[in-house]
């Protein structure tokens, strides 16, 4: 894997993130914005729940016939005058993009936002070969200025505060007066607009991702709010769309149904500002548009997920609702996850793509609260899939010995209900006695790591859940 993966150090990453005041401020500011907007958009569309079932079914149908739909898609791209480059690995995809850029004699390329570009570490490869990539999505632009990676799949600069933007713009745009004032967020936006406008006009090649590929028409679809994706794919002489194989859907109608879910789940908009279907290169009579249209179609391990318990993950439409609603993501942010995809979807996808030996911590970083699954527009059972990874990690003896020993002890008790109840009754009684009048324990011997960030509630009088349940059942029968 080309990108440096820090997922094996998730615990250290998370601890650092919790102790980083700037990050905690940014997470605090951002928290809630996406949630409220999504809730309002969903509430305004009574059919939303039915649409989730439809979205799930469209994706399941496509995945069950993925070979057919990819072949149909590729044939239709070529019928419209485009070229499809099939790439099994990240390395092949990088080579394909570079070859197109070199054939076009490209010096600078503009880029729309693409997570696949992050996945294959495209920018570093272009730079190493003397081609300057320019990120044009506002969030991606500052990430590139900072030499960082996105911390969120739809809001790359989720971890930054306004002060960071101002400082970075002053540092990067040295030709502008140093004492200029950024009175409003809008001033930051305007400066980026002016700066990037020159870049859009100078670029030789434009590279975008794709939210969907439509088999029926051979179209790639991008969804943006800024308009940068459209400037990127319209102005240069060559357009390259990079997309992974599971992005294909059968028809325009299938795509439309998924689009009804995407923006509502992502930013809480009814529809994004620009949803654009690109099909082939400029037609003879057209007055604008690229002369060449290429699609770099990437597998990179996805085909291996088919037929396994992780096939459901290939339904993902990258809306980010799961991370927006995740208490773990909300506490540590995206960088702690250590690779391209953070949050619950990343905790399932990353082990599939880079290996559970490197990313085994991620599916453990979950409270199993289930919010991710409850908001997923295509109903991916994310907690179940994370549990599958935990099982695989355990089976492969990747779990530390101390954890295995304690799990063994717990399993011994759990398989003996009489003993288990005795033990929990004793523990609850003792904790109740020790904590009487306190409400909660601030710390607990042998559990300092757990209580450092949480309080342990003192058990309420009345015994364990099982004891109370049995008592109530008896009372009801009487």
């Amino acid at each position: 894997m080309p990108v440096h993966i820090t997922s094996p150090r998730f615990k250290e990453n998370a601890a650092r993130a919790l102790a980083n005041p700037g990050l905690q401020k940014a997470l605090g500011t951002a928290k809630g914005a996406f949630l409220q907007r999504r809730a309002a958009a969903v509430a305004a569309l009574p059919e939303f729940e039915q649409l989730r079932d439809i979205g799930r079914d469209i994706k399941n149908h496509t995945l069950a016939h993925l070979d057919f739909y990819l072949e149909t898609y590729a044939a239709n791209v070529e019928r419209a005058g485009g070229t499809v480059h099939w790439c099994s690995t990240a390395e092949e995809a990088r080579a394909a993009v570079l070859a197109i850029c070199q054939a076009a004699g490209a010096r600078t390329v503009t880029k729309g936002k693409s997570m696949i570009s992050e996945e294959i570490a495209l920018n570093a490869h272009l730079e190493a070969n003397g081609i300057t990539p320019v990120e044009t999505d506002l969030g991606e632009y500052i990430i590139q200025l900072r030499h960082e990676h996105p911390s969120h799949i739809i809001a790359p600069a989720f971890h930054l505060n306004r002060e960071d933007w101002e400082a970075d713009f002053r540092r990067a745009h040295t030709d502008l007066p140093a004492d200029r004032v950024f009175a409003e967020r809008r001033d930051i936006l305007t400066e980026a607009r002016t700066r990037l406008r020159e870049r859009f006009l100078a670029a030789d090649v434009g590279i975008t991702g794709a939210n969907f590929l439509v088999a029926e028409t051979g179209s790639s679809v991008i969804v943006t709010n800024e308009g940068n994706g459209d400037l990127t794919q319209t102005l240069p002489r060559v357009h390259i769309a990079i997309a992974s194989i599971e992005k294909v859907v059968p028809t325009l109608e299938d795509c439309t149904s998924l689009l009804r879910l995407l923006a509502r789940s992502a930013t809480g908009q009814d529809f994004s500002v620009y949803t654009t279907f690109s099909t082939g290169a400029r037609r003879a009579a057209d007055l604008d548009g690229p002369q060449e249209y290429h699609v770099v179609l990437l597998d990179n391990g996805r085909s291996n997920m088919l037929g396994t318990e992780f096939q459901d993950m290939l339904r993902c439409i990258r809306c980010a609702a799961c991370m927006n609603h995740c208490p773990v993501y909300g506490a540590v942010g995206g960088h702690a996850y250590g690779w391209v995809y953070p949050g619950p979807m990343g905790s399932v996808l990353t082990p599939s793509l880079v290996g559970v030996d490197k990313a085994g911590h991620l599916p453990n970083a979950s409270t199993f609260c289930g919010r991710c699954e409850s908001v997923c527009p295509v109903k991916i059972p994310l907690p179940k899939l994370m549990r599958h990874w935990r099982e695989r990690e355990f089976e492969r003896h990747l779990t530390p010995a101390s954890v295995r020993a304690n799990l063994g002890l717990w399993a011994f008790l759990a398989r003996r209900p009489g003993l288990y109840r005795l033990a929990t009754r004793a523990a609850a009684g003792m904790l109740g006695l020790l904590g009487r009048g306190k409400g909660a324990f601030r710390s607990m011997p042998l559990a300092g790591g757990w209580t450092a960030g949480r309080d342990l509630p003192v058990p309420e009088p009345g015994g364990t859940f099982m004891a109370r349940h049995a008592r109530e059942q008896r009372a009801r029968r009487r």
Binding site: A33, E47, I54, A64, H65, L66, D67, F68, L70, W86, E92, L138, G139, A155, P156, A157, L160, N161, R162, R185, I188, R193, L196, E216, G218, N225, E226, G227, N228, L231, T234, L235, I245, P250, T251, E253, T256, S257, L259, D270, F271, V273, Y274, T275, T276, F277, T279, G280, A281, R283, D286, L287, D288, G289, L297, D299, S303, L306, G307, T308
Partner: protein, 237 residues
């Protein structure tokens, strides 16, 4: 070759070989029929309400809109709009027969050039192919008469849309496009409001890379679309 490698890996995962001919025929049939899924009820309303819904949604998405009785009234509407925004009376015009046929000399101070947009153009006047009431979205397929650059380069985009081209849902717009244009044009843009970004602290700011202003001039050429208050108005579509 990677193509065969990828298709082979997919088939191994799905535990089968290439699809048999009967199954391929079934899937080809689905592509040809391109069945619709559920269409939200919000746009299934009488014609006049549908138009009102479109305009309401354009404004909800931070665009603006006005209605004019016919194409002849368009130059005055555009001249007044530009004056109200303090913009120069100059624009790049989509070279579409409907727009070229307008008598622009009715407003002699209004200058225009019919061509693709250039970076220096401040205002563009685009031809609206269809309007989608469901979310206040404009469907703008590219072509010789409707250059895509008009949708992205100017700071202000004005879209002239005939009321008879307003539909309820996206699916109805696709049907129009399939019936009238046949094959997909190079580019089909769905535009919902002016450009914006929420990348700075998840706070929405208008005017990112695309137009800062989006103004819809709706030409009332559909008798069924007039009189939003009339509950007995015939259902549209």
């Amino acid at each position: 070759m990677s193509r065969d490698q990828i298709l082979g890996a997919i088939r191994r995962g799905l535990k089968r070989g290439p699809l048999p001919a009967d199954q391929r025929a079934m899937l080809d049939g689905r592509l040809a029929a391109h069945p619709r899924h559920l269409i939200p009820a919000r746009s299934r309303v009488p014609r006049a309400e549908q138009l009102a819904l479109l305009l309401r949604n354009v404004e909800k998405e931070f665009g603006s809109a006005e209605r004019v009785p016919d194409l002849a009234a368009v130059p005055a509407a555009i001249a007044d709009y530009l004056a109200a925004q303090n913009l120069a009376p100059r624009f790049v015009l989509a070279p579409h027969p409907e727009l070229l046929g307008i008598d622009w000399s009715a407003r002699p101070l209004l200058e225009h050039a019919a061509r693709r947009a250039e970076p220096t153009d401040q205002v563009s006047v685009q031809h609206g192919y269809a309007g989608i009431a469901e979310t206040g979205t404009l469907m703008l397929p590219s072509g010789a008469t409707r250059p895509a650059t008009l949708n992205i380069l100017a700071e202000t985009e004005i879209v002239v849309l005939r009321a008879s081209r307003v539909v309820g849902a996206y699916e109805e717009a696709w049907d129009l496009l399939r019936a009238e244009l046949g094959a997909m044009p190079r580019n089909v843009m769905f535009v919902t409001g002016p450009s914006r970004s929420a990348d700075i602290e998840q706070t929405l700011e208008l005017g990112a890379h695309g137009p800062r202003r989006l103004h819809v001039v709706l030409v009332d050429d559909d008798p069924a679309g007039l009189g939003a208050e009339d509950p007995s108005a015939p259902p549209g579509v």
